[in-house]
Each structure stands twice: as C-alpha cells, then as structure tokens.
Symmetry: C2
Subunit: 387 residues, 2 copies
C-alpha cells in the first residue's frame, strides 16, 4: 500500500528517527495514518510517538520533510485563585486573551496553497478553502518556518456554529504562531505584531495584569464574557515559556452541556462530568449568595433537561435527532469534497441544496445522530429497559 | 493457601463441575474469592462463572455444598408506557411492591446461626448480627432449601442510612424468597404468605393492576412515594416467571445524586449519568408544563451543586469530607468485627465511642472520602489544574 504514493517512506522514517520496519508497523497499527486523495502524502499522528504529540502532521515540502506539531492541550484552572499564583510562579504579570468558541486549525503552505489541519491532523477541505480567502499568503511565503494556530468561529461553521461573535459567516482568529522545527511559540506581543503586519484577525487581548490582581481582573472579564455567552479566556506568560491556562464562563459551559445532552447517548459521560463539576467550583470561588446559587442550579438543570426533552419529543414525533449546521463556500467542488470527508470520518450527513448568496454558496447540513435517535426510540417507542 | 482450611477444594470444584486446576486458577485470578476468619470456607464469585452469577456464594452445610445465588439485577423502565406493555406480554396483570432504599442482603443458615450476605457476596458482620434478632430462625430450620432476600433499611445503616421509613434503628424487609437449587423465586403471593407465617416484615404490596391501567396506577403511586422521598416500585409478574422491572421517583433519584456529588471524585460518572438521563424521560412521560419542568430543573441542579459546594467549603475549612453513618449492635464484639471488615474492603473509617442505649450500643462511623478530599484540596488549596 505504501509503494504507490509519492512520499518516500524510508526517508520519512529516517526523518523521524525510526527504522522503516518500525514506521510500517506504526502505519499498520494506525498510530500514524496516511491521508487520502490529493493529500495522500500527508501523515497524521494518531497517538504520541517518540516525542511527537498526537495530532501532529508529517508532510513533504520542497524536497524536505516537516512536522506540523499538534495543538498543545491547555490545562484548565478550576478556580483562578490559587491556580494563577501557583502556575505562574516567578513572573510578574500575565497576558489575558479571549478563548473563542469555534474549532482549532493550523495553517501552513503546501504545494503552493494554504491547508488547514484540524486538531486531529486531518486536512479539512472546507477550512482549507476558507483559509485561502481569510489569510494573507505572503506571510507563509515569507515565514515558511512558522505555523499559524487559530480559531475558526462564526455561524457558517460545520463543527461549532456560534452566532455570538457578530460574524456574517466564518472567520479565523489567530491565537498562536509557532516554529515548525521545535514547536516553540512566539512571545505573545511579538506574535500579535507579526500577525497584525499581515492583517490577520486575532483573538482579543484584554490586557496585562499583575499576578496578584489577575484573579480579580479576570473574574470581572469572565462575568462580562458570560453575559454574551462567550467562552472564556486563556491566561499566558508573555514570554510563552510557562504553559498557558484556560478559564471559562458558566454560561458557555452550560451551552456546551445543552449541546451534549441533546445528543445524550453520543456525547461521552467524560465530556459532561467535568463541565458539571466546574459549576460547583465557580460557585464557591464567587462566594455566591442563595439567590445566585439558585440561579446557577436552575441554569445547570435546564442545560441538562431541556435539550434532552426536546430530543425525546422529536423521536416521539418520528423525527431524527440531528445537529443542523451550515457551510459557505466559493467553489462548488468544495461541497462534494466536504461531504466525502465527513462520510469518511463516519458522520451521517444530509446536505441541503446549495443556495447562491452573492459569489458564494450556502449549504445546510444535518448531522444525523443515529446513536441518540436509536436509543431514544428503543425506550420511548419500543419500551426497552435500561439495564 | 488452600490446604489449610476446612473446605475440600477438590470436592468444591467437583460440585461446580470444574477441574481442581481450573478452580485453583479461578482462585488465583480472584474470580472466586475465599472469605476470611470464621467464614473462611465460604467462597464468593466475583464474576460470572459457568452459569453462576456474580455475587453468588459457595458454602458447605451439613456435609454438602450449596450455592446461594447472587441477586438478579432488576432492569429499569425509563418510562412506564410502553415498558410495562412490552415486558409483560402474555399476562393480564402485574403486582406492584415497594422498592425500598437500603441495602440488599441474602439470609441463610450457616453452622447453626443466620448469616447475611451482601450483594457482592461478603458476609457482613453487622448485618449478620442484626438478622439474628430480626428474623425467626424456625423458617430456616423448616425450609433449608430456601434463601431470604431482603432490604435492610433505616437510620442505623452503615451503607444507605435513611430516616424516611419512620424506623427507630434498622429493619429487614423481605422482597423475595428463592430456592437454593436453581435460584427460582416463589410466586409473589405465595412468598408473602410464607413470610407472613413466620412474622417477617415485607416490602409493601400496593396492589395488582391490569397491564393497561398499570402505567396510570403506578404513576399515581410514584407521585405519592416521591413526596416522602421513598425510592420507587418493583413491578412483578405474579408468577415470577417474567423478569420484574423497577421504576423510581425523581425525588429519590435526586437524593442519590446529592449523595454522589458530595463525593464527586469518588462516585463513578457511570453512576451519575443514568440518574441524570432518567429525569429527562420522566419529564416527557409526565408531559410536564413549564412550571413543573422548571421545578425539576432546579431540583436536579440543586442535587448536583449544593452537595459539591458543601464538600468544597469543608475542604477550604480544612475538614475531611466524610460520609457519617451509624450502627447499633447488641454484642460489643460486632463493633470490632465490623471495623475490621470495612478496613479489609479498603474503606477509611473513624469509629466514635460506643454509646449505650438500653441493651444496645450505638456507634457513629465516619467513612472518610480521601479521593474527593484530596482532589478538592489540590484544586482549591494547591491551585492544581484540571487536565
């Protein structure tokens, strides 16, 4: 299976410091997975292998291999105090940027155009088309050693559609720029200036705060963000030497739960549980009074039950439970490529007809949640028991 | 390790239809586990082995072996309609008994006294002392072929203490009587008469209902039980040929969640998740209006957050999170035996001094929840991040 492709497997193995037989073994185990179609000489790492994190991507560019490193997982503060003090020891202040609610992509140049890699390392055809129009290509020609990390946010978002940012369609907000060679991030202000130079949109910078005042300032910011159902913040060492940490709003957390409980049989329990636990810690941190606590309890309970009830009622009315999203593309060919991509990922989709809007096409997509539909039907229609 | 004990392992293996080497292998793997101390020739099945369910117990009585079968797991109706119709096909009516909230024991005679086996098949020294005084021993002498299945309920309950039944201490409520040989249950009314003859207390019988009216009648019963925070009902084929099913009250479900979220890092996510999902199905089944739904959402949210917040606050005040229970014994020796039993099960306990009450001793026990205490402390005191 490997001889037919353009990539030289022996050289790829050598680049990774692996023997060819070990590389083939990893392919066999699907620890390293080859892409398909036009990207079949791009490999993604489906697990952590010899110092290369999961989600990393190996590709060949101009005769040499390069690794685009996976997104570093950002750990979460359950309470700002004492987490900030503890995790930013030895520095005087932190920079606070917005954590947007969308999906992560890494952008790099590949064979003369930009490609967008998802968190898991897939080349997403939709995001790839979008970034062609969203980012200034000069950056990638002038800085081939750098990778752009950003959040794709807005309503025309097939993964996490959100209307909260006042965007017409979809935009990319840069939050990190890193060196390919070692994955090292640029210092925050250096990254912001560089991105500005090329006209990239970036996540909002709320300011720089001393370690002691930071918990109070961030609490204030989070309460404002919560009112708009924005997700939260990432707290960063300006030099990007210490690991950033994230902290989120209850309102956004509850929105995640609403989505998860609508597809209750599909969303993992491991997804729901920490989101529930966060609410308890934030309530203690904010020293909530009886009325505020009651409101939080009601918000949590409603985030869990209302979407479940909606799903059960839909199944009673013989409907399929689906997640309805949309995309907007310039090239009609992207629609078919994206459908085929989702199907390969095992997602059951129904695409609506393309609607022309100026020079683009809007396509509505229903992602059918068969697991929750079937489980609900078995209970409410067929009377099956919960074992 | 096996040669020293009274039980003849070769004969035990033969009785189970296993080769001695296979029996030893199962002991090694801890699929079959030997008890200790005075009960060391009692074996419990820690997994399902050749037709014998998990929780079953093998013991020797009067020169022959016998198996006390594990509790059959009772499946749950998520909604009464259509579950009752579907699961009791071919019979005209069902009997509805109360499902009490306590802990299950199986009682049998062993070396001239009664022993109480827990769900997992351990001989609980506390329950064993209690059943001596709670059950008429004549039954066991006159019916050596039968096992009594009952719920231990009341406040002096080291596992699930409940004040809801108006009991002074602890009582045993019979809900099943089965033949040792094949595990077959007696028909419900036959069991009730036999248990009555010996003066056993039994779970309440709410009545016999036709299949069509049952969902309405049981909904009425459940709403009444809910007001008292009682747990729910078990719906039975009068002949006990078809499998019984259970159905519970939201109030009791929320009480379970309150307990689970107080020990949020210890109680499994797999425990919490189905309890949350039940609330959604019941709300749809009862076709709740906006006000009822809001109340349910608030009840659910409060069941989750209030106990968590209590635990976090306790840790902030440098207290250990513990589950405070009590036992009441006649023989002081039981106290030490029960402490040693809990410690062997890996439970971290602090026993208070025995308080004399008439001819008995009341002992308060704190079961320390180290896992939740440590996790909470790491977050709120040490500022650790949630990965």
């Amino acid at each position: 299976m490997n001889g037919e492709t353009g990539i030289d497997v022996e050289k790829a193995a050598e680049f990774l410091g692996l023997s060819p037989s070990r590389f083939f073994e990893l392919l066999e185990k699907k620890a390293i997975v080859r892409n398909w179609d036009e990207y079949e000489d791009i490999f993604r790492f489906d697990s952590h292998i010899s110092g290369v994190v999961e989600g990393s991507v190996l590709l060949k560019r101009g005769g040499t291999f390069e690794i685009i490193r996976g997104f570093p997982k950002i750990k979460r503060a359950m309470t700002l105090f004492p987490a900030i003090e503890r995790n930013f020891q030895g520095i005087g202040s932190v920079l606070v940027e917005e954590k947007m609610n969308g999906y992560n992509v890494r952008v790099t140049e590949y064979r003369g155009k930009l490609i967008a890699l998802t968190r898991s390392g897939h080349v997403c055809p939709y995001s790839t088309e979008r970034v062609q129009h969203l980012l200034n290509h000069d950056f990638f020609r002038e800085h081939p050693e750098l990778v752009v990390y950003g959040e794709m946010a807005g309503p025309d978002n097939p993964y996490v559609p959100k209307d909260i940012y006042g965007l017409e369609s979809l935009d990319l907000f840069v939050f990190d720029i890193r060196c390919k060679s070692d994955g090292a991030p640029l210092p925050v202000m250096e990254r912001r200036e560089l991105a500005d130079d090329y006209g990239f949109r970036q996540v909002e910078l709320f300011g720089e705060f001393g370690i002691e005042e930071a918990p109070y300032e961030i609490t204030r910011i989070i309460k404002e963000l919560g009112k708009k159902e924005h997700e939260g913040v990432v707290i960063k060492d300006p030099e990007m030497v210490l690991q950033p940490i994230k902290y989120t709003c209850s309102e956004s957390n509850c929105a995640d739960l609403r989505h998860a409980f609508r597809f209750y049989n599909d969303s993992g329990r491991d997804y729901m549980f920490p989101r529930i636990v966060r609410e308890g810690f934030q309530s203690v941190e904010w020293n909530e009074n009886e009325e505020e606590l009651r409101e939080r309890c009601l918000r949590l309970g409603e985030s869990i039950l209302r979407p479940m009830i909606r799903s059960i009622r839909e199944v009673q009315m013989d409907e399929l439970i689906s997640d309805d999203v949309r995309i907007r593309v310039r090239d009609r060919g992207t629609i078919e490529r994206f459908r085929s991509y989702l199907e390969r990922l095992g997602i059951d989709v129904v695409f609506g007809p393309p609607e022309r809007i100026e020079d683009e096409y809007l396509v509505r997509i229903s992602k059918i949640n068969k697991s929750t539909t079937d489980k609900t039907k078995s209970i409410i229609i067929e009377g099956q028991l919960w074992s």
